[in-house]
Amino acid sequence: MSQAVISVEHVSKRFRLQFRGMRTLKSAAMDTLRGVWRRPDRQLWALQDISFNVKQGECLGLIGGNGAGKSTLLALLAGTMQPTIGRTRVTGKVSSLLELGAGFHPDLTGRENIYLCGSILGLNKRQIAERFDAIVDFAGLADFIDEPVKHYSSGMYIRLGFAVAVEADPDVLLIDEVLAVGDAPFQRKCLHRMDDFRKQGKTMLIISHDLPTIQSISDRILFLDKGRILGDGAPSLIVEQYEKFWRQQNTGDLRSEWGTHAVELTGVEFLDAAGAATAAYAGGATLCARVRYRTRGRIENPVFGFSIGDVNGRLIHGSNTQIAGLSLPAIEGIGELCLKMPDLALGNGIYLFSFSVHSWDHKTNYHRIDNAFPVAIKTDRVFDGCCYLQSSWEAGSGAGVGA
């Protein structure tokens, strides 16, 4: 019953970088003269010796940073690219949501594009006609279906693309970052639809950077980096592994640092309740950060500050010793401060801490280190959003349960 619907055996994919883009006869002739026609000097192995199977009805998530090879892998499975080495096998009809509305022609109407796109996905006219109303209904475009799609908003475009692809009724659905586009109601609709797919026992492969979503929807996750599989297993385990990997690799990207260096922040250490160094806290725990500094000479009335941002650079919270009412008349030499945050209310994920020290009037910035200190939060509380806020419900009149 649970045979492999997708099998990937020792697949590698090479791109010849210099062949990309505009290639002209002249450059080919030059390359031939140089003897590099068959051996271009720059090549990229987008995938290296990848092997895995996907069983009937399984939902496999693919995660990894940019350039990890996720999209290349889906393109191989969709059949738009051929592997350089190895082979892939997919049983049944594949429908890919690699790029929504990719097959649309701007000058054709929505109706004409549904027929075009549906037939590219392998439906015949009768099948498209049967699904036509469902497609228009799902996309919510009944009033605009006879307008050329060039007059559509980008949201309408995407909705129509998704509607056609899911109504194509594939055995295997490949989804590349669809969840990142469209507004919230549409995303919910998509997720709902994907859930239906799962219940029908269809096989899905999903790429997403939205870790909580992919963790909840997948049965299994593959973690790719630089064309290799680094992890393959239960969603929660792999997401944790990926987050850990991400913390080690990528926190440098957002990091920035500047100031006069009259006071220098020499180190920040995060400690757990027992006083041991840590980089992860449970929801509701007490965070303790020890900030060490060194001054050049005597500094009057310094202010130490911190802020918390998410990995997208959005500020979640920030404060400083001035606001908190801690007055530091003067500091000199080496010293340290301790920041304490009891009952952490942050949601699951990775947060980046920034620390700074500046003058009382905020005019002189001594030292500021932004987004340099990643901290992972793992909470059992169930809620939406990045912060837990106290809330409760009370039944009002008329909302009572009947006797």
Partner: protein, 268 residues
Amino acid sequence: MSRRFTHMRALIKELFSRHELLHILVVRNIKIRYKESVLGFLWSLVNPILLIGIYALFLGILGRIEGKSFEILVTGVFVWQYVSLCLGDSAGTIVGNANLIKKSAFPRLILPLSMVLANLVNFLLSLVVVLVFVLCAGHIPGLWLWLPVMLLSHVAVCAGVSFFLAAANVYFRDVQQVTGLLTMAWFFLSPVLYSHELVTHSHLAPWLKAAFFLNPMTGILCGYRSILLGYPLPPMSDMALSLGMAGLILILGTLVFQRLEKRFSDEL
């Protein structure tokens, strides 16, 4: 070689199984060509008529317009128009659909093929106009049985060359620049403005006269003129050479396309 032909058979089977997609793409191509132009389909008549006017004027100035020249010109230009439209469109059929190629799997040959068939529809419509002209000029068309043979050969030439150009342009964008020049050279080497007798009755070396029929368009133009104007056909051996070349071009174009299509997604 036998493996090549199994490939060919598989390709034909695949194309046939996707005939609805082919149909939709043909309709799309026809719609888009004349979308938002006031004259619409009339352009495929206006263009050759203007060309005929220019050539007639030019030949008139040179004193070369005599008896049959005008009807040769009209049939030649309309028949050539199909080839010239296909050549002009071919380079863009793969490169211009990069999105489709990269995002979905379907037989890539359908893209240039649908372009060739869309232009065929135009050609067939314009052929009706030529027929009216020919009847008005007092000719009794004959040799109707030859028409399907000519049409098939004509499509074969257009398709074969278009497949080759479409695939080659993915790797070398020079192709789209060179096509115009190539079309013009081919135009003058084919008996479009002149009768094939200008060459066969000339004092050229016999091997050059034989080579004249290696150009499939020579045989095809002669064939159409026999059908439409009742002219005698050239010797069967010459016709067979031309039409054989048409078939060869189709096969070679398809083989090259199949060889190159594997890395379209990588290159686009």
